[in-house]
Symmetry: none
Subunit: 217 residues, 4 copies
Amino acid sequence: MSGNQKPARRDAAATQRRILDAALSEFATQGHGGARVDRIAEAAGVSKPMIYSYFGDKEELYKAALKESYVQIRQGERAIDTDHMSPEDAIRELVTFTMHHFISKPWFTSMLNTENLRKGVTVQEIDDLNDIQSPLISQLGEILDRGVAEGRFRPGVDPTELYITIASLCFFPVSNKYTLRVVFNVPIDDAWLKRRAEDAGRMVLCFLRPEPDAGSG
Amino acid sequence: MSGNQKPARRDAAATQRRILDAALSEFATQGHGGARVDRIAEAAGVSKPMIYSYFGDKEELYKAALKESYVQIRQGERAIDTDHMSPEDAIRELVTFTMHHFISKPWFTSMLNTENLRKGVTVQEIDDLNDIQSPLISQLGEILDRGVAEGRFRPGVDPTELYITIASLCFFPVSNKYTLRVVFNVPIDDAWLKRRAEDAGRMVLCFLRPEPDAGSG
Amino acid sequence: MSGNQKPARRDAAATQRRILDAALSEFATQGHGGARVDRIAEAAGVSKPMIYSYFGDKEELYKAALKESYVQIRQGERAIDTDHMSPEDAIRELVTFTMHHFISKPWFTSMLNTENLRKGVTVQEIDDLNDIQSPLISQLGEILDRGVAEGRFRPGVDPTELYITIASLCFFPVSNKYTLRVVFNVPIDDAWLKRRAEDAGRMVLCFLRPEPDAGSG
Amino acid sequence: MSGNQKPARRDAAATQRRILDAALSEFATQGHGGARVDRIAEAAGVSKPMIYSYFGDKEELYKAALKESYVQIRQGERAIDTDHMSPEDAIRELVTFTMHHFISKPWFTSMLNTENLRKGVTVQEIDDLNDIQSPLISQLGEILDRGVAEGRFRPGVDPTELYITIASLCFFPVSNKYTLRVVFNVPIDDAWLKRRAEDAGRMVLCFLRPEPDAGSG
DNA sequence: TATGAATGAGTCTTCATTCAT
DNA sequence: TATGAATGAAGACTCATTCAT
């Protein structure tokens, strides 16, 4: 009845959150150079001075948004419980999950692109990023170890490299869907990407499989 | 009477080229929002009005640069002659070549990123892009057909999808090397990427191999 | 029931003082246009609303600081007891004192400069300023009278003008020391200024001395 | 007939001059912190980007204005020909001139005040300032030498110090006229300042005169 | 053809000031 | 009394674009 109720005011933490969310969205959709502080302020429902008071300047805000994108990614990644799965299923699950991740959180791939366009100037200044991703790598390492122990995977595969492989296969079609559509006339939609994830899983497993010749030799 | 005609006649084409090269470099390194017309003019060694007179406005210049990046890419791709290779070698060669391509022409991946950040607004307006890439796809198709005929590859693989797979494996570590370095502490250099290309080739071939079970069934 | 009353009662006066001191320092070092309310609040150890509640706005605070600078100056000036000195010694003492005054209270010359840059807009609105300086003028008047009576000074010298002369000789090298150093390569330090004060005293006394010709005529 | 004719456009040198004049006026009347680039642009009849294009930023513009104030001062000072005057008349002339100088070019005293409020941060970065003032000092030196040779002045007076003395006596009442008016109720106008200059001349000459005792001893 | 000169419309950032508790 | 939270208005500076020659 009382009409549009403004989001809670006079709540520093909440305000900072709103700014951060708005910033992440703006930087992800517009890039670093194209992002506008005005738009962030408006989207967050605050005045511009708030942004400067809480985050310093545009660059610092960008840094916070970049870090936030990693933090949010991590929160999603922790959710998968692969312990009770077979090594193959675990890998398939991780590939599916990664693809879904990139699709459902488009600001993440965008932030990666934006930051790499800038040659990683900012990412270098963020601490703890290593920590943020390490649980995922550990999880992969465990799956690999298990697979090797069970004779399903060949040994000597580095979990980080494996992750980069999985990410590669999922990242490219999601991140570049707009140009791919035009250049190759491919209707990149969720169904297409789902098939892609399946193929990717197959490819990764094929790559992990022990050499058949070795066994028969 | 016709006054000083120091500047060579027919400079028009050369001037346009210099502008285009400078624009490609600027857009690729700075992104669409971060690119500066001033810098392009200076790098091209022309005055700003020249740019406007030749290209209209910044957006049109960007479009020309984007198209140019595809044109230059195509010129490189035409060079590989895979006809005399075995299907496997041909695939390996294409993977190696693609990786080398992305590494040696960083403006291409950058332009892809930039344009996809913009949701492909501009790429849609460029005609002929399909033509530009189609020779590559045809080439891949021929290799696939040959491999299937020789019983080395399984049938039913779409050449476009195969290209996307190859591109995926090469694109991600090149395009995201700055963030990868920081986040995973991986020293992504040419040697690392070369190993990557080898793994990628192995993976793709593994994916193309006919089902062993099918043969034994 | 009355809750936590940690902050001492009757802090009001002390708080106002701290604000005033901080303001004086800020306005003197930064000028009117360069002064920042934030800095004053921080230096005073209070929140900004306190300043506004006590002083109204920045302009009023500036007015208070300007007046305060005159008040503090007066307090210093009252301290000199010249009654028991010879008229010459009294003048010398006043010159020395004035120079020392300007040196040791740099905010005073700064406030004068600041206010005169503003064409005295604010000083006009302060009452009682005349009273503040009058004791000094009276004192000078007495010294002059005594000197004339004793035949050491010529008559007809206006004490206000004499004060302006003394102030002139002391003010310029102190107030403009930074530019003088650079423009004339003069190492203006305390020793240099002390010599200056001695010369100034000599000059003033020379100016006050009865015309030798007149006596001999 | 053709109405208000705008000042010459498309003339870089003239535009720079207009900006510099406007800047000098603005900085002198508003101080460094109070000066507004907008106002300078408007007063100069140009758009703001012109200012930035020609002078870099506000600080550089301030530097140019400060230097300009010294340059203009020097141009005035070169005009006095004291060679044909008696040493006493030459000194009197210089004092009169200096006073007139400060009165008729109020931006000079204002710039001195402004810059000294800033502790000379900028003046240090200007080269050649020494050169600018040195002709005046040389001139004073010659007058002193001549006076000493003619037995009218005592030896050992440093020309720079003498200039500082003259400047002191003229600067203070001009620069601080607004506060002096209020604090001492003195009607500081041109007539008053003229009398001041005469007194100042008398004082300086008295200071330069050889010790009578020395002569009689 | 070519360009130095010029600018309207932003874009980031700051500051005096007020609100809500 | 006291202050953390908040902002309208303005300030310095930039940028794509056009004008005049």
